[in-house]
């Protein structure tokens, strides 16, 4: 656990730094893959920027809407640089809405655009795991195993490392390379989101912090089951409606 990186007089929040690096690598990959799939990479860059800005504003506004009393005496707090005053869910919804509207206006192909971002999402998921490892969040249940880590006063499952490993394997699965056959468009993204949901269902059992709903069933496992079901339904629809594999869309060479 390394929540703060002390560099001389500077105290840098390590999780934020790791996420920034993840966003940067993810965006670079998305732009690279966009060129390969012959989508205007400028549109991809603008779409990413708009989504992030809308997401950040949305997250703050959503937090303020849930905590109006906190701002009633001092509305300037809305512009505070504090990262903790963000509602991730609200920010995500508003960011995705902005992205959807932008994509519609620019006529970007929906499924192909999601495919373009998939390698970036995969990188970001790995970065998210490292960010959680550095902050000590999403910690594991107490366990006395040879690979347990000492965190928050106890030996625990290294749940963040499990997450990083699973995100890494999923990234390998969906990474664009020669011979990887994900057709028609959208399948790459759906495979990524479905695999991530499946991994989440399994890995949640090792967590020591997430809320348990009934017996050992956790709230995020229910969300993950719903995401997995949705991904499978859409995957089936994409594959059957497109009658599978128009080879023209298959990447034949490595975009690297």
């Amino acid at each position: 656990m390394l929540p703060i990186l002390n560099l001389g007089p500077l105290a840098i929040q390590t999780p934020g730094l790791i996420l920034l690096i993840g966003v940067w690598i993810g965006l670079t990959q998305a732009e690279k893959y966009a060129r390969f799939l012959k989508i205007d990479s400028d549109h991809i860059y603008s779409l990413s920027l708009l989504t992030m800005v809308a997401g950040i504003f949305g997250a703050r506004l959503s937090f303020a809407a849930q905590n109006p009393a906190a701002f009633q005496n001092n509305w300037t707090g809305l512009f505070s640089l504090t990262l903790q005053m963000m509602d991730t869910f609200g920010g995500g919804v508003i960011g995705l809405l902005a992205a959807f509207i932008y994509g519609q206006r620019k006529g970007l192909p929906f499924w192909k655009t999601l495919d373009v971002f998939t390698p970036g999402f995969a990188v970001l998921a790995i970065a998210f795991g490292f960010a959680q490892l550095s902050s000590g969040d999403a910690f594991g249940a107490p366990a006395n195993l040879p690979w347990s880590i000492h965190l928050w006063g106890e030996w625990r499952h290294p749940s963040q490392i499990y997450f990083i490993l699973s995100a890494g394997l999923i990234a390998l699965l969906v990474w664009p390379r020669s011979g990887s056959r994900f057709n028609p468009s959208g399948v790459r993204f759906l495979v990524w989101i479905g695999s991530s949901a499946l991994a989440r269902i399994f890995l949640e059992t090792f967590r020591g912090d997430s809320p348990i709903l009934i017996e050992s069933l956790r709230s995020s496992q229910i969300t993950a089951w719903l995401i997995l079901a949705g991904a499978l339904v859409l995957l089936n629809r994409r594959l059957t409606h497109n009658n599978i594999l128009p080879e023209a869309q298959t990447p034949q060479s490595n975009p690297e």
Partner: protein, 100 residues
């Protein structure tokens, strides 16, 4: 600190306590006391003379803020500062609303 004082005065009657801990092992206690007087701070400010408290709470940066609920469980840790008053209010309101 002014934000903490304002929140301490506002939420004190809900049973909210603010305990500030000065890292006296790496600070000048006299300067700290002068600061408290100048700012008119009335909440308890403790002195960690040996650094034992910082070690127990695994403090790796100053300031670090711990929000502790009614059961004595740390519900949130915020590294670095200055702490936004709105965040302080939001977190304390959330803890006050929790069922005893």
């Amino acid at each position: 600190m002014p934000a903490m004082q304002a929140v301490y005065e506002e939420f004190g009657h809900y049973g909210v306590t603010i305990l500030a801990v000065n890292a006296s092992n790496q600070d000048d206690p006299l300067a700290a006391r002068r600061f408290i007087t100048e700012r008119g701070l009335t909440f308890p400010i403790l002195e960690d003379l040996t650094g034992a408290t910082a070690r127990t709470y695994q403090v790796s940066a100053l300031p670090t803020t711990f929000f502790i609920d009614r059961k004595g469980i740390i519900s949130k840790v915020i590294y670095g500062g200055p702490l936004a008053e709105a965040l302080l209010r939001a977190e304390i309101t959330r803890l006050v609303k929790e069922q005893p």
